[in-house]
């Protein structure tokens, strides 16, 4: 293994793509994803990897081309953010339904309006019910390794679904960190060859893809898709176990940080978990029973693992970097379902919309039970 090098999350993702050797990369520029496709295009231009780059005219076409390519037997990757994911949402659902094992990096960014380029998770939440898998990285190192893991997960014969690797816009996509890359050969051997059960280019055994399904079959087909999503949780540990000796980290659908005896447990996604670890350490040092539950796999949602990990908690503090006006924030709703009947108290907090910073002091407030529903909101603005 090489020593660590200073890379942004975007560059780290591009390196993972280079090592996984996609045949086709259709993409459309959007901040904060663009550094990923730029870095990858540079690898292609220099001959460091070979791929057909399709500079499509929209994100809708990016994922549409990706479906055609993935089903034609070519490993296919792309990347997007925010409005790009919103524009391609129609196709995200269809990619899952067509069981196209596309790997897509998502540089998480707020949705318009007002237009904003900074991080929150509204874009990912928009496609939470689409049937795709969504993995959240905490930092650039995880973003790199999750792309490799996602490739295996997407292409696993029991799964065959698109996998979105979500990395917080700017915080991870543009933030430079020491990142350790696997040797190219090691990474290539880990991801292996792209294999799908049947190709649309198989002219000797022609098949009809994407047919019209009426009430007599649609329901069953949707149910089969849900089963594929559930299968991703089953195969995740074995793929992670193969990656562990290579990178030294054991990935899992959930990451438990100091949950032993934890009475108050914060639940969150993405880079905020890095800040939360420090806060948990400070609280533990002060003798307080605080812990962190980080969801690496948001879709499929590992309900049983989450419920088991939180079984000993008194209070669960859910941090949502997305809102659901008129409803319950998405992660809080998920946790409420997990904890129903357990008697564990649940607190829901929205934070960080449109790139609003969250500080250790905010997390201390949340742990202390003093935080508002909307953490970090300016008191002087938005008065009706």
């Amino acid at each position: 293994m090489n020593g660590p090098r200073l890379l942004t999350g975007g560059e780290a993702v591009a390196h993972a793509m280079r090592q996984a050797k996609p045949d086709v990369v259709p993409a459309y520029p959007i901040t904060p994803q663009t550094p990923i496709i730029q870095a990858f295009a540079k690898f292609v231009a220099s001959g460091a990897t070979h791929a057909e780059l399709i500079d499509v005219e929209s994100e809708h076409s990016a994922l549409s081309a990706a479906i055609g390519s993935a089903l034609a037997g070519a490993r296919t990757m792309t990347a997007t953010s925010s409005q790009g994911l919103a524009l391609m949402t129609e196709v995200v659902y269809i990619a899952a339904s067509l069981r196209a094992p596309i790997v897509m990096a998502v540089g998480n960014r707020a949705l318009s309006g007002p237009i904003n380029i900074h991080c929150d998770h509204s874009d990912s939440m928009l496609v939470r019910d689409s049937g795709v898998i969504q993995l959240f990285a905490e930092n650039a190192q995880e973003a790199y390794e999750l792309i490799l893991l996602a490739t295996r997960l997407a292409e696993h014969p029991d799964v065959l679904l698109p996998v979105l690797v979500c990395l917080d816009g700017f915080t991870i996509t543009h933030g430079a960190e020491p990142v350790t890359l696997l040797d190219d050969e090691v990474a290539a051997a880990f991801v292996g060859e792209y294999r799908i059960p049947h190709s649309v280019l198989d002219v000797r055994d022609p098949a009809t893809y994407g047919p019209f399904a009426m009430p007599d079959y649609y329901y069953e087909l949707r149910r089969a898709q849900a089963a594929a999503s559930a299968a991703a949780l089953e195969v995740f540990p074995s793929i992670a176990a193969e990656l562990e000796p290579l990178c030294g980290r054991r990935y899992a659908p959930i990451e438990q940080y100091r949950l032993e005896g934890a009475e108050r447990v914060l639940v969150a996604l993405g880079s905020t978990c890095g800040t939360a670890r420090d806060v948990v350490d400070e609280l533990r040092a002060a003798g307080e029973a605080a812990g962190l539950l980080e969801l690496t796999s948001y879709r499929p949602f590992p309900s049983r693992l989450v419920a088991a990990a939180l079984a000993g908690a008194d209070r669960v503090l859910v941090l949502d970097r997305a809102d659901s006006p008129g409803g319950t924030p998405p992660l809080a709703a998920e946790l409420a379902a997990c904890l129903y009947g357990s008697g564990i108290e649940l607190e829901s907090h929205v934070y960080g919309l449109g790139g609003r910073e969250i500080h250790p002091a905010d997390l201390h407030e949340i742990f202390a039970g003093h935080a508002a529903d909307y953490v970090g909101l300016r008191g002087d603005a938005c008065r009706g």
């Binding site: 081309a65 022609p206 019209f212």
Partner: protein
């Protein structure tokens, strides 16, 4: 007539689109699909936009297709084709495809999936230069959803969203010139054809698939339901579109315009309007000015096309 034999031979084997599908009697779409696919030697993969053709031929768990077929959505057929074409190039480069396999990517979309909602994806794919054939079966309205107006609906036509009444004479705008839009992309082969003129269409498919790049065929295709004519009159109705010069048959090959069929004498536009319920109101005396306007525009467009076809060799034997 050797071409007819070739087409018949290809159809007699394993037909690319077999019968038993649910397209209407008299519908021009299967005629276009079979003529196009039977004119291509070698394997094909079909990408289909949402529409009549997709819905009527693939009701799960059945299919009318004997060739690989993929449908993703309404507006993105050209983008999907881009992906398949790129995949084929990538796989060939790393020797992951059989040596002899060169699959022609053919996309079928209606006028909605071409002129309107599909225009952006088509434009992108044409500009990027993917090697594929895009065939628009242009029946001049959204027929699959029940005859709503599209950018291809002609001036004056009645549809369910451009109805005729005291305040309306049908569609108030002239149809979009999609063929010209495709030509504007500088692709190497663009042609206009009609479902009725199978020989002309077949020749155009051969030329379109011989080039190394994108090609676009805009094929006027009848819809008895939406146009309001008897299924048995399909051929006659389409003929009248060509003979009145409402729908000229021509091609643009490497920038060179060429008429591929020239009517002996241009018939009056009423020959096209008559016999279709969607135009019936135009033939009432009070709407005479509308017919005159249509006639004037058809004549003007025809003259413009003739000027572009500087080297008109349509009467030369092929």
């Amino acid at each position: 007539m050797s071409r007819l034999k070739e087409l018949a031979r290809n159809e007699a084997g394993v037909p690319p689109l077999r019968g038993g599908h649910a397209l209407c009697q008299g519908c021009g779409i299967p005629l276009v699909v079979r003529t196009v696919l039977n004119s291509i030697e070698g394997p094909v993969v079909v990408v289909n936009a949402t529409g009549c053709l997709e819905v009527a031929t693939t009701r799960f768990p059945t299919t009318a297709w004997n060739v690989p077929w993929l449908h993703v959505a309404f507006e993105n057929a050209a983008a999907v084709a881009s992906g398949i074409e790129s995949a084929q190039r990538a796989l060939r480069r790393r020797n992951a495809l059989p040596d002899d396999q060169d699959v022609t990517v053919v996309t079928f979309a209606g006028d909605g999936g071409t002129y309107d909602i599909g225009l952006q994806a088509l434009s992108g794919a044409l500009e990027r230069g993917h090697r594929f054939l895009f065939v628009c079966y242009d029946n001049e309205a959204y027929m699959n959803t029940g005859v709503q107006r599209s950018g291809a609906t002609p001036f004056g036509a009645a549809t369910t969203t451009s109805q005729v009444g005291d305040e309306s004479f049908g569609k108030a705008q002239k149809r979009k010139d999609m063929t010209a839009i495709a030509i504007g992309h500088h692709v190497r082969y663009v042609a206009q054809a009609a479902a009725s003129h199978w020989d002309d269409l077949s020749t155009k498919v051969e030329r379109a698939t011989a080039i190394d790049g994108p090609a676009f065929l805009n094929v006027l295709t009848d819809c008895p339901l939406g146009w309001g004519h008897e299924p048995r009159t399909s051929r006659r109705v389409l003929d009248s579109a060509v003979e009145t010069c409402f729908w000229p048959l021509f091609e643009v090959s490497d920038g060179q315009y060429r008429l591929t069929y020239r009517p002996e004498r241009r018939l009056p536009i009423e020959k096209w309007l008559d016999g279709q319920n969607r135009f019936a109101h135009l033939l009432r005396p009070e709407n005479r000015p509308l017919v005159e306007r249509i006639q004037k525009e058809v004549k003007s467009d025809w003259d413009s096309l003739l000027a572009l076809c500087a080297t008109d060799d349509s009467r030369r034997p092929r």
